[in-house]
Amino acid sequence: MTHISVKVDGTTYEDDVEPRLLLAHYLRDRLGLTGTPIGCDTSNCGACTVDLDGATVKSCSVLAVQADGCEVTTIQGLARDGEWTALQRAFHEKHGLQCGYCTPGMIMAARDLLRENPHPSPDEVRKALEGNLCRCTGYQNIVRAVLAASGQQDASGHQVSEGVTA
């Protein structure tokens, strides 16, 4: 067992873990933070994307011991006092999901994009989400949601929401 100290969504946890424990399993099984789903075993799908010290990672491809001393933000750490962020609202308003399984990862990846590039083009949104698979939507409404959250219209002139810092 290895001792770790990790701050997750604002709360610091101290735990003894097996070195082989994946961060995704630590979040879900030890901390009960099941908002982060696991979709694949091949680092492809991006459903388990979380923020680790300010950058997105696929939490199925990080060991919990590698997060020792770090700060993790999951989808469950975004809302403040029960209020969704504008990015979360945009996914809701633009119907950027159907089954919702990919949504936590999509939102974490889109949040990472908007931090680096607050006004991305539709193409830049698609590039930024290339590591996140959605099998329902065909991605159109996901791209619309991210553009809306950035305060921009998409090419088809769909109505947009307020600008945002995600």
Partner: protein, 284 residues
Amino acid sequence: MIPPAFEYTRPTSVDEAVRALAGAGEEAKVLAGGQSLLPLLRLRLAFPELVVDVGRIPELRGVREDGDALVIGALTTHHEVVHDPLVRAHAGLLAQATATVADPAVRHRGTLGGSLAHADPAGDLPAVALALDAELVVAGPGGRRTIPAREFFVDYLQSALAPDELLTEVRIPKRDGWGFHYEKFHPVAQSWAIVGVAALVRRADGGVAEARVGLTNMGATPLRATTAERELAGADDSAAVARAAEAAAEGTRPSQDLSASPEYRQHLARVLTRRAVLTAAGMG
């Protein structure tokens, strides 16, 4: 899936890491960003007794200049490589190719050294390192040694690293003024290249004076298209480049898999070499 059990150590210096590796014989694996190793562990394709996590060794990180060379710490992430001003200025081919590796989340974790040490011929960066004539500096119990990229990739997933050696930095000769292009053919975003071609071109009189061509996924190791390189020297128009590119697959023995037959890969190598060289030469 759950990785097999292993012992874990997190050294804070290169010397400490080398001692840990030396103590474990052949049973240790180095963990840097983990973007190649963790999938192998999850799929139970690797069973190390000891994982040596070098991810917190500061001396392995960062980019600096050393005369005519650029020196990139092995632990420098793909994301850092893509955005580094020195890399962009002196090794643009590496920055461009690295931006095509996997996806943003993987690039946040994955490292240049890890990608090279993994020695996957389908990875983008081994062929780029070959084209750039990079040198790999490794630390072992007896000190440091430098291995040219052309001697580093030994076989499929096998490098010239001894079990008790750690890749510490990658030295790349500056190629200021050379044109470059990485042409990657892949079925969907973020997937591995079916074939990739890394081209470096020194231009003169509107044509190609000298060319370096690295091939991704055209055999058990990354390769240089040496015959095509010879024939590209002096190519003064696009037709001459196209003729020279016909030799790009010469001597290759690419694999067969679900994506492509060996013949199709050889076809791709010729077409992609033509495209990559023309773009690198500003003739595309």
